[in-house]
């Protein structure tokens, strides 16, 4: 199954037959005080810099979130997306829990965006999915509903199926629903990781849809998070994860994704792996201090 997203000039295909798609997570003011302050003041320099840096580090898409408390989020989200589009040409993942903000962003976006996100809550589905349809976008479906997040993998699959069914009811093709099987931190529940992986395996087997997740969640509350995140990518990609919202500026994560692509047969003759290595060699040589 293929999920195709587009910017004005670039197309990205998410598929289990293709290399993994990294959706850069950095443009999000939650927990980033300086970014939040700048965005509130309408200063988009850091947003632009984050966009460029993430794309250079291998992000094929960028998540844009403007959730600053107490702000006019629709206007700010539109401004942030415009700033990102000025400096990069990758497709955007429009991230908001405010429906008006999603709609405002979709209205100005040129291309086919990925909407982040809808849950299986009836009210959310019936408000968000018609908007997704109207603008011809794709959407991330989170496998939780009014009752919360179940820790039974098959139940998460059924919740995902409900979102796909409802999307189809509103005229959205099933391949345009990317399922988030939900990654929770293993710090709070040692079984959280394996439950997520089993959910992925079942979704791959029973639904076949593309899957994404907020991968950095798995290591919340733990030390040395990049390594845990990197290991998660290796196992999750094997279980069926085809894209993820994460930070490509973390070298461990970027490399784990590339290496897993190679091991899973998505990097013919290891050309991406080798060229990445060469680029790094070149960079290291350029920045090497002059010997005295």
């Amino acid at each position: 199954m293929q999920t195709v997203v587009r910017s004005r000039s670039k197309e990205v295909v998410i598929s289990s037959e293709r290399p993994f798609v990294i959706i850069g997570e950095r443009i999000n003011p939650t927990g980033r005080k300086i970014l939040a302050a700048e965005m509130t003041a309408g200063v988009m320099d850091r947003v632009r810099a984050d966009a460029i840096a993430q794309v250079e580090a291998g992000a094929q898409m960028l998540d844009v979130n403007a959730g600053v408390p107490g702000i006019d989020e629709p206007a700010l989200l539109v401004a942030a997306i415009q700033a990102v589009s000025e400096v990069t040409d990758v497709p955007i993942c429009i991230d908001s829990s405010v429906i008006e903000a999603l709609e405002a962003a979709l209205a100005v976006y040129q291309g086919k965006a990925l909407v982040n996100s809808v849950t299986a809550e009836d009210e959310r589905m019936d408000r968000i999915l018609p908007i997704v349809k109207r603008y011809g976008a794709a959407v991330i479906g989170m496998s939780n509903d009014e009752t919360g997040i179940t820790m039974v993998p098959q139940e998460r699959v059924e919740i995902a199926r409900r979102i796909i069914d409802r999307a189809q009811y509103y005229g959205i093709p099933r391949e345009d629903v990317v399922i988030d099987p939900i990654a929770m931190t293993v710090a709070a529940d040692p079984q959280a990781g394996v439950i997520t992986l089993e959910t992925m395996r079942l979704i791959k087997e029973q639904l076949g849809n593309n899957m994404t997740c907020g991968a950095s969640n798995v290591s919340f509350g733990l030390p040395d998070r990049p390594i845990v995140n990197a290991a998660f990518f290796s196992v999750a990609m094997h279980a069926g994860l085809t894209c993820a919202i994460t930070n490509p500026l973390v070298p461990e994560v970027r490399k784990a994704v590339l290496a897993s692509d190679l091991l899973l047969g998505h990097d013919e003759y290891a050309m991406r792996w080798i060229s990445t290595f060469r680029q790094e060699q070149k960079k290291a040589a350029a920045t090497e201090p002059v010997t005295r």
Binding site: G31, G67, P69, G70, S97, A187, A188, P190, L222
Partner: protein, 238 residues
């Protein structure tokens, strides 16, 4: 060192390291030796969990370590609680807590509950997705010292204000201290919402709760003021 002293030290160490079976066995041994349940609680278990909280705040301890320490302590509390209830000792305070309406995130809230119970609070957990009426009803029914609202999303944070207005409307606002917290919440946002306290993490939430209750009890009983000041000083040193 007497065996009693040894037991206190071992309880402290095993709780700190989250060794539930050892904590349970030591608690039973202590009771068999005739040690006072309050002694076990206040001289071994609670100081240990306070140390866990301090280490967590410093970044020396991580979430799983806090969880297993609290679990080890809960094993002892199950044994001690009925005995302490017999002696007529009361919990140090009452705390009503829940995740606000529209929000189903509960990891942070659950950590706060564990730390509060460990510190000797009676906690009423309203769960997730709690409507303002539910908070109002729980405050009315339980008469807690503190009510805590947790929110993980910028879109659900406005419920703090809604909840506080609901408490005002019900005439309960001045009867309870309001504490708020959650990933996107800031001190300033908490203040603008009309909350009394902002807690950036579970350990700080618990320390603040103790100060609030200390203040409340001191208002009722001036003799306690000195003890509360002593506790505060000890905590600041850590």
């Amino acid at each position: 060192m007497s065996r009693e002293e040894e037991i206190r030290q071992e309880l402290f160490d095993h709780t700190l390291n989250g060794h539930a079976p050892e904590v349970k066995a030591l608690t039973e041994e202590a009771l068999n030796l005739g040690m006072d349940p309050m002694d076990i609680l206040f001289k071994a278990l609670i100081p240990s969990l306070e140390e866990v909280g301090r280490r967590f705040e410093r970044g020396d301890f991580f979430v799983p370590e806090m969880l297993i320490a609290a679990r080890a302590m809960q094993g002892a509390l199950v044994i001690l609680r009925p005995l302490i209830a017999e002696t007529g000792a009361k919990p140090i305070g009452k705390y009503v807590i829940g995740t606000v309406k529209g929000d189903i995130h509960d990891i942070g809230k659950n950590l706060v509950i564990i730390m509060l119970e460990g510190a000797g609070f009676e906690v009423v957990d309203l769960g997730v997705n709690c409507a303002p009426e539910k908070f109002v009803e729980a405050v009315r029914a339980n008469e807690p010292h503190i009510v805590g609202f947790s929110a993980f999303l910028t879109t659900t944070m406005p419920m703090f204000k809604v909840n506080i207005q609901a408490l005002e409307k019900a005439g309960l606002r001045d009867k309870v201290a309001v504490m708020v917290g959650g990933a996107p919440v800031t001190e300033e946002y908490a203040r603008l919402s009309g909350a009394d306290h902002y807690a950036p993490d579970a350990s700080i939430a618990t320390r603040m709760a103790k100060q609030i209750v200390g203040a409340a009890q001191a208002a009722e009983n001036p003799a306690l003021t000195q003890a509360v000041e002593l506790i505060d000083k000890t905590l600041k040193k850590g």
